[in-house]
Each structure stands twice: as C-alpha cells, then as structure tokens.
C-alpha cells in the first residue's frame, strides 16, 4: 500500500507573524518549521505501518528550497522517501492552487491513502484535505482523533469529535484522511533516525513534471484576494485589581455595569 503524507513548512506559530506588502505571509520574518499539526499526520502514518499495514510512506511538500527541511524532519521520524515540489510559479497560491499541485503530485506517485494534518498552523483554513479528496475523486475521512485502516476490506475508519456529536465514520480506499492533535503524540526523531534520513531519497519536481500550466497556480491564479491587513489594535488595558477579600463583589459590579447581570 502507498501512503502519502502531506507536510508543510510554515513560519513558527509561536513567533510574531506579519504580512508582506502584497498581503502574503512574510516568510522571511521568522524561522520556519514543520507545521506542528502535520507531525501528528506523520506519526499516524508511521503507526499504521508499525501496526502491520504493509505500506511505503512517502512525504510530500510544496514550497521553496527550505521546505525540504520539513521533509528531512519527517524522514528523521521514519518513513521511506519524499517528494519536494518547488517552482517559482507556485508562490502566492491559494488553497485551491496548492491542492491542485498536491493532487497532481499524488496522482503521479500513486496512492492508497493520503494523510494530512487537520490544518496548517499558518493559513489554518483546514480545507486542503477536502479539496484534495475532491480533486482525486475519493472519500475524505477527516478530523480524526482515532484512525484504523483495513487493507483486507479496503476501508479506513475513524472517530471524529464534531460540534454536536462524536461520529464514527468510514470511507473506502483510496481515501484522504486528516488527523487532529488528539490522535497521539508525535515521536521525536532519534539520532539514528536523523542520520538515516540523510540517505533517504528526496525527489524534486517542478510544474512541468506535473503537467501544470504556470497560469494555474501562484498569486495571479488565486481566486481570492486580500484587500487590507491591519494589526489588531491591542486591547485597551483594563482594570486589574488585587483581591483583598472583595474581589468577587467588585467583579459582580463590573458585570452588572456591563449588563451581564
């Protein structure tokens, strides 16, 4: 079975992120890392192979040169090989353009299961897994905090905690799944893993390799545009009081003045 894990190299979510003048994320302003939420996807793919699913695990990323770091980190955790799609004409792509590039690369490689994180920690739309499923014409079984694959009956089953109910869902393979940060802690790469990762194959592809016309991707193909970006004004510092025995009474007075009581 072929498992493809989509990973993204993103500006560190714990740093102060900013925009460039064209309304895209300023990627030079802060260090980039493997998106934390993608580590759970890597972990789940590796656990599937360790639980007896006979599979080759391939990591896939789209991005400039340094996006390879996300692949190396993933390979250091485990897995077999990686694909890096890099092309100047991809810069500025929206989720639709990104999902097109990912889908073409996945089709070219072949797949039984695509594993994604629940969202990236930069765009955080969480829509790429569903877009991939739509483009690949397969089921999406998303937002899982538990995942099981049966090669015998060709299905993937998972548990999703929705807004109003916990749902067990099942899709037929091939399928796209996404996993949450509740699916299980991601392992740290071992020294051995880091050394082994250096020898694992990383294939680099551009848009020509994927039969994608340059005008289908990038900022000019994006179907939405940012008009303005503004740093949220910091909240005006409120009234902070030390409790000297009447803290609750004072708070009640504040809530009453605000008409919450």
């Amino acid at each position: 079975m072929k498992i493809v894990v989509c990973v993204k190299h993103v500006p560190d979510a714990t740093a102060d992120r900013t925009f460039t003048e064209d309304g895209t994320t300023d990627r030079d302003a802060v260090d980039s890392v493997l998106s934390e939420l993608d580590e759970y996807a890597v972990e789940q793919a590796l656990r599937l192979t360790e639980s007896g699913v006979d599979a080759e695990v391939t990591y896939l990323t789209v991005g400039p040169d340094d996006a390879k770091d996300a692949l190396r980190k993933s390979l250091a955790m485990g897995g077999d090989r990686a694909i890096h799609v890099s092309d100047d004409d991809i810069r500025g792509s929206d989720a639709l353009g990104t999902s097109l590039v990912l889908a073409k690369a996945i089709e070219r490689h072949g797949f039984d299961l695509v594993v994604c994180g629940m969202a990236s920690t930069d765009g955080s739309m969480g829509v790429v897994p569903a877009m991939l499923a739509e483009r690949l014409g397969v089921p999406a079984v998303t937002h899982l905090d538990e995942l099981a694959v049966s090669a015998e009956d060709g299905s993937v089953t998972g548990r999703r905690e929705g807004e109003s109910a916990t749902v067990r869902i099942q899709g037929t393979l091939p399928a796209v799944v996404s996993v949450t940060d509740r699916s299980g802690d991601a392992r740290y790469p071992s020294f051995k893993g880091i050394m082994a990762a250096k020898k694992k194959p990383v294939e680099t592809l551009d848009l020509t390799d994927l039969d994608i016309e340059p005008e289908w991707t990038g900022g000019s193909a994006a179907r939405s545009a940012v008009d303005t970006t503004a740093k949220r004004p910091p909240r005006t510092k409120g009234e902070i009081v030390a409790d000297e025995g009447a803290g609750g009474v004072g708070l009640a007075a504040f809530l009453t003045a605000k008409k919450f009581v």
Partner: protein
C-alpha cells in the same frame, strides 16, 4: 437582487443559531435562499422565513442523512448551477468548511473561510473580514473568481428577524459516485445538559490549570449556570483529564467569540488566546499578576479563584434578589 444561498445547519429540522446569523448577513448581499438538506424542512421553514429566507430549497434524500459532506456538495453545486447565486454562505463548522472546500473546487470558485463579518461593496459583492495569526491581525478579502463560497464563524453577527414567506422548492439531486463513499457508522450526540453550546453561547466561563482537579470544575460550572453560560476549558485542563476535549477553547479546540468570556485559572498561552481573544468583553481571575491573560482582560482580579468565584456567584444572586 442576487440570490444568496445559505446552507442550513439543523438537527432534525431544529435550525441552529449560526444559520440565523448567515441569513442576517445574506440580506446585506441579496435575497437569502436557504438550502435545507434532510428531513424536517416543514418545521424549519417558518423560522427560516422569520429571518428573511425568500426561498427554501429542500433536498430530502437518504444520501444526505447517511453520508457526510459529499451529498451536500452535490446538492449545492446543482442548485448553484441553476440559480446563479451571488454567493454561497456556510457555517464554519467541520462539515461546513469541508463542504465549502469541495464546493469551491467543483464550482472553480474562490473560497474564504472563518469570516467574522461580511459587508457588500458598491457592486453588492461580498467583502469579508477575518481574524488571523492567532487573532493578532484583521484581514479584509474578497473572492475574485466564480461564485464566492464563504464560511462564517458563529457569533459573527446578531440574528435579526426580517419576516418573509418563503417559496418552498423541492429539488431532486443527482448524486455523484463519491456521495456514498463516506459513511456514518455511529453518532453519539453530546450530552450538553441545559447549558448552551460553546460555539453559540453569548457568555463562556472557562477554567484552566488553576482549577486544579476535575472535581473543582463544579466551581466553574456554578458560575456558568449563574450567568447562563457555556463551560470552556484550556488545553492544560483538558490534557490533565479534568474536562472533556469537546469543551477545549483554543487554536486546536473550539474558537469562541462570545459577548463575555470569563477566564478562571488560565494563564493565557498563545494557543488559548487564539481561541478567545475576539470575545467582546474579557474577564480574568488568576493568582499570578504576571499572567498574559491580564493583557487582554477588560477587568481582571488577581486572586484565588476558589475565593473569588463563589463570592461572585453569591453577589450575582444577591443583586438579582
């Protein structure tokens, strides 16, 4: 005026509040048409009309009830093809966002998710406002190609009635081959008791590490009940097993935007702030005067939540007589 399609979020015909907010926003852009999937449309039509739906498209097919997302995409794509809407609005729920994602690909349209407001530009086209980078930036954006597909966060606006008598149109949808490829095996509804749902609540009272134990969440619940609030929890409290994950407020939990957010025993790590800092009024109670949550608070009490909260509940009761 353009038709604006609104996907109805409902439980067996009981329309959920975010849908009423979508109808309210849709009226700024054109004539709202509700798209109702599954059984229970008769019960829902009145309330959809009360909030301005001029039309209700009804798709009552077994595919919709038994399978996730893709049947809704088939239905919306088909209705959009015949009605040529000015926009499609969906709730920013898991299913809503996934439906929107597939629909945008299907319609070759631009997609905007998690809008916190929508206005019309001079040509009536939607301009969205989003809150990004852990709610540190406000972004306005618009769709440049196709039918704008927009998901809107709960509490983006207050639902405003605008009574209409909707035309009901039953639609037979031709479902595609993937419509039935994802099945719901079981569904366990959340036992929420009498408290409002976290995403929809006007007031949220959350507890964190400082609550120090599952049994102490009774203090958080008592204040929540006193204020008619939903109960939230920080990731620390959830990871410690003190409160269910379904109540986690934060970047990877539920993102809330209530009128009032009360943070008790929560220090305010960035992941938590990302999930609550668009709340209109924020109140914090924490022993640590240096806790980052106080930077956001409109009113903060540096003190022991085990003393402050019970006193607060008592004082609220006293003021209410």
């Amino acid at each position: 005026m353009a038709e604006i399609l609104v996907l109805v979020d409902h439980v067996d015909g009981t329309v959920r509040k975010p849908t009423l907010e979508l109808l309210t926003l849709a009226r700024r852009l054109g004539e709202p048409s509700a798209v109702f999937l599954g059984p229970g449309a008769d019960a829902a039509t009145d309330v959809l009309g009360t909030y301005g739906a001029q039309k209700v498209y009804v798709v009552d097919a077994p595919e919709v009830a038994e399978h996730l997302v893709t049947p809704a995409v088939d239905a919306l794509a088909q209705i959009a093809a015949s009605s040529g809407p000015g926009a499609v609005l969906l709730p920013s729920s898991l299913d809503g966002k996934e439906t929107a994602a597939r629909l945008a690909v299907r319609l070759e349209s631009g997609l905007i998710t998690d809008a916190v407001d929508i206005t019309a530009d001079q040509d009536g086209r939607p301009v969205t406002e989003q809150s990004v980078f852990a709610a540190t930036y406000q972004v306005t954006a618009h769709v440049t190609e196709g039918v704008p597909v927009i998901t809107v966060k709960p509490n983006a606006t207050a639902p405003e009635p605008a009574p209409a008598t909707p035309v009901v149109e039953k639609v037979d949808v031709t479902f595609g081959p993937t419509a039935t490829a994802t099945r719901v095996l079981s569904r366990t509804p959340r036992v929420g008791g009498d408290r409002p749902e976290l995403t929809e609540a006007d007031v949220v009272v959350s507890g964190g590490r400082g609550v120090n134990g599952a049994e102490n969440f009774a203090i958080i619940e008592a204040l929540a009940d006193s204020l008619g609030a939903a109960v939230g929890a920080s990731r620390a409290a959830v990871d410690a097993g003190w409160y269910p994950h379904s109540h986690q407020v934060g970047q990877t939990g539920t993102q809330v935007s209530p009128q009032l957010y009360v943070a008790a025993g929560i220090s305010g790590a960035i992941q938590h702030r990302a999930g609550m800092q668009t709340s209109k009024t924020i109140v914090a109670v924490n022993k640590d005067a240096d806790a980052p949550i106080f930077e956001l608070a409109d009113y903060g009490v540096v003190g022991d939540l085990f003393k402050v909260l019970p006193q607060l509940v008592e004082e609220i009761d006293r003021r209410r007589g």
